[in-house]
Symmetry: D2
Subunit: 388 residues, 4 copies
């Protein structure tokens, strides 16, 4: 197995973007539970996100969701973020909460609706110029609930046309990442349900369009690390939305449901060059904290990614390859599992401390008084959620 | 195959209860879209439900959800219903929308929360006495999102204790039906996730406690008609919540996703005596209309049940049994499929007309002007949804 | 709804290829049950397949599996087929039953194994020249059972190289179709697990390489008709392997598990031009008859495809499109379902009879004495199965 | 977290039974690959199994499969086993490989077939008296492939009757454990598909009948540790068949696909008293080694169980309960995960060595020369597989 020292250079450049919406309230269709201290403004969300970076050194950027994070002055918001030690990141569009999007957005049959959705993305790109963001992330709720409700094929063509219009607006340094999702909120068919669809759509656009892989958006039994390997091979893996799930798109803390799966995913990322210095792959969380504390939930999440990355980096690639070529099934698997079963937490704590970070970020935040402070200060107003 | 005439006696006594909440707005965690004419009160929901019965003769009762359908005077509500040609049915409790229920209700670890939830069911039983309802339906959102979050075993014991307390309050003619659900809104573990759990819990209570089977609440690949057959065999199938789904608990129109599955379910219901005159099995819809029209959605649903019941009744049981005993796999399957593939719609239309009902209930409602009327009249106020 | 008369031209050109192996014994890993009359030679399989065409007019060609159907003289085999009223069709390669393929074939890490597998495909192409076959179908059992067992990424590159070598051997009129499969017999990762992988692999080859879609090879909950629509849109749907399944790759009679799904698939095939005169889409069965009679099982299967095609052709596309544009969810769904619920069997029987075919092919075969004849004649020898 | 020293008493009494058939060849319906040294007789299987115990101290008994392990003199076989340092364990019946069982066995519609299957179990009980076995394990392949093929309800009654007949033959110290399986080899319906069915069937028999839980036999997304907790609560968990799977019943090495799931299962076993001194729960492997080495595969498997048991024993139950009662979701989860993430392998090695066992059993076996010995000696004869 590799030594811990040998893997720290790669760990050092690890960066995981946080979603601003993880700090607002979220829940299920049955109920959204609120908590004291929940942010009421984009600024408060960014301040909370900055806490995660402060204690972990892992989360230097915050993704925004438009219109949830709309402000009058994005330059000022960026300055605010910088003052808190973080920067603004990916801009996420939203075409699922207006009355007009009831039957779809970029893929909708109604041209007026498509235009509206395209214009929204234009606005997002405009914001990107102000925030200095590289990535425009598109996740679509588009789809239908009943067979026959709309024409699957026509919608796919509509989507292609809409994406061309959006892609044309991108600046030279900007990218478009298209996320796919197996199901929900559409129940019969989804217009971008799988990596294949996202791949063919972005491939038709050009080099600045890539696939976004959300770890919770696959059919049961799907081998996600295979998709990671394939997209890296094709040069089309643009970004990750990390989370985990037991059954559906549960948006749980990444690594919570199946730590070994996260390990396998990170192993393929590393194998495919996804953590190389020039890698095009962006790493981001996309989670919802329904019953657990939000800021600690995000700290736990980036630590989970870090710990599994460290374990994956420990894999002795030479020994693995040797066993593979010898067709030693148990031997190859043992090399692989040895890295997974190694407890990297003590070494990570030490390393963290050596870099001036808390050895135990969860503890550091818990005892910082920050949570108590915001609970006391953020009284009145409307807590941020998915609708605001 | 049986003649249509031979099956009308059973069709005649078919009754499918409607859920009051199907007439209010519903949606996903991403968005709830409203529609003109949506009821604002329990009375308006009942009036809408009465339209379904008026045009189909299939839906003589309406289930209430407490507290969504709370009124000051339930006797008056019942009279209101009767004047509209329907009666009140099952009372559904709700222990998932109060702040207190964030970590569970009847199964929660906190005894104060359990008491609150038990008291809520006492209140429901009190309402049942006033509404003349037979069934108290309990569906629990109880569960956890993370391994270790709570003690699975202790919660099961808590649940058993809570149910004993509720069961003790039931009147002689009243019943408790316990619904199970595979997942959601809890994502790691659900306290009543499968028929086995519901069965062992109600069996511990006594004869007046039975299982409620919601057709959308199973793991992928589950053979639901097997569960129907098993529960009928055990004398513990109390009621159905009909709906359909492609992947998760999508609450689509019953029969929309897999008509053949509905046929197989009805075939086992009939086979097991579930449609006999003295059958304990209650039939109910439990659906959410997110993008489709609500009243027509309910009409379509009860018609789907009627049509599949008719097809299932057409199965030539003697021919089927003969082929089964001869181990003629294709022959037995052919007898079964022959009934499924038979188009019963013309015969049902005629039969409906002969009983003074519209031959085409969808058309009859569409041309009745009712929808336009409520859209014009129900202006202002708050449209009913899952929260009100 | 369209009239039956209007759809007969398309029905008339429908052709469904039969797999020779459907007439041999098959089963599960637990047991393969034999039956009297099972063919012992490729000739006997073809003779049985010819019975299906004789009684249905739907199955003019028979696919061969190499080496299961190896003969010394393929020209003679073709003549034999022609004398029996059918022709030879797709050649299926087999790279999963030799000791050498234990760890893969075209994707294997061992170059000697890959060479062997490529050579086998060369041999298949050679046979295609003799049989006059257009299509070489490649389904790979390649994959691994344990994480780490082999390198996913390298195997994908190996596969690409191997396919290039095979593609180079194809004649001008020949095609290669690459089948994907979600899982089995590899349990951890499969080298061609989804349509996306098959698509990127065949796209890298050229115009004569296309995707083969086996209806049983998807994750639970997958919307297969969406994939059909997408591949037709991309011009890369080469062929279908029809069968059905309840959970895994059960290889049941097509339409047996979910007739409505088959309807939806055929509706998208028609919508996307897959049944047009110049369509590149080939239709084939790929089924295993474990407990049911084989020849009647194949007759039932092609009839199921025909019946669902007829229903799908009946869809009133103008009415459907109108309802779709009006966003009339229930109306559009009703147009769609109306076609599905229509019993086309009487019209098909009549039409069949009018063309000199048996009105009831199942009955016609059952009373033909053929089964009794082969049971009496085919005594001794080794019944054909997956291994011979 | 608990200290390692505090958990060794429980580890010391851990015993995992090995299946004799794990040492024979196994595979998929596509191919069974053989390996040099594979046993040809029950004696050779037992000798191989004894190697696992010799190197791990974890596997003192070997389960037999009848008729695969039929011998003339079971007392002699037992002596043979004892001489090799192990004992005989559970007797597994087989009612899926005779021609007569094509349409079922204990649940079949044909009374002659049921009698035959009952008689087979009588024979197994007779063997149990000679081998000194406590448990008769029944796994049934019974089910159907097509809707309508047979009567689900009648078969359930048949099964109940058959089990009564078998149960009546059990000696006072003998038990019957009934295994359930979600699907395969029956594809439409399985007669014992879920824990609920197994539970109701064994509950109808009496105290000596219990449920066998095979970890690979559930629908996707099923929370298996919930079932463990429930069955322990009901006093009806009789035994485990350990293995793992990614999608279907893949029979991979236990812990290979999802180590965290194995941890959660063991945590509930411990929580529910399943490892207490008087626990009725028997632990057994049920795996198939298709591509990996067999004896090392079994060593790896029992070590996986031991390692996950150790991790689960390390859970600080007091801290966990405290966090649970404080509704500290992340805190409780952290206590739980802390145990999972702890690397117990060094402590286990040391402890093993302190008890006179190899610190590294995999290494010890690899260097023992045993494998080379049997490969050289076991030449000729028929290698054991599922059929012999």
């Amino acid at each position: 197995m590799n030594s811990f020292t040998s893997i720290t250079p790669m760990l050092e450049r690890q960066a995981i973007e946080l979603p601003s919406w993880a700090f607002g309230n979220s829940g299920t269709r049955f109920r959204v539970f609120g908590t004291p201290g929940t942010p009421r403004t984009p600024q408060e969300k960014i301040a909370d996100a900055a806490q995660v970076h402060k204690h972990t050194g892992l989360a230097p950027t915050v993704a925004l969701h438009i219109p949830w994070d709309k402000v009058d002055d994005y330059a000022a918001l960026r300055s605010f973020a910088n003052e808190h030690g973080v920067d603004l990141g990916t801009i996420n569009s939203n075409t699922f909460q207006d009355e007009e999007y009831k039957f779809g957005s970029l893929a909708a049959s109604d041209p007026a609706v498509r235009r509206r959705a395209i214009d929204h993305h234009r606005e997002c790109i405009e914001i990107m110029h102000q925030t200095g963001s590289r990535d425009l992330k598109i996740w679509l709720a588009d789809g239908t609930n009943y067979p026959g409700q709309d024409d699957i094929r026509r919608r796919q063509d509509n989507l292609a046309d809409s994406l061309v219009a959006i892609y044309a607006e991108l600046g030279d340094e900007q990218r478009l990442v298209l996320e796919y999702k197996f199901f929900e909120p559409a129940f019969y068919h989804t217009d971008v349900p799988d990596w294949g669809t996202s791949y063919v759509q972005v491939s038709a656009l050009g080099e600045k369009a890539l696939v976004c892989l959300d770890t919770g958006h696959h059919a049961p039994g799907t081998n996600i690390e295979f998709i990671v390997a394939q997209l890296l091979r094709l040069g089309k893996l643009g970004s990750f939305d990390f989370n985990s799930r037991f059954y559906a798109d549960d948006d749980l803390i990444v690594g919570a449901a199946d730590p070994f799966q996260l390990f396998r995913i990170m192993a393929e990322v590393i194998r495919g060059g996804g953590m190389d210095a020039d890698s095009p792959v962006a790493f981001m969380l996309d989670q919802c904290h329904n019953v657990e504390a939000k800021i600690p939930g995000q700290i736990r999440s980036v630590l989970n990614v870090q710990e599994m990355t460290a374990r994956a980096l420990l894999i002795d690639r030479d020994a693995l390859e040797l066993a593979q070529f010898e067709k030693d099934v148990l031997g190859a698997n043992a090399v692989y599992m040895d890295a997974f079963y190694t407890d990297v937490r003590p070494a990570l704590s030490e390393w963290r401390a050596s870099r001036g970070l808390p050895a135990d970020p969860m503890e550091a935040f818990a005892t910082s008084g920050y949570q108590e402070g915001i609970a006391a200060q953020r009284v009145g107003g409307t807590q941020a959620g998915w609708g605001a």
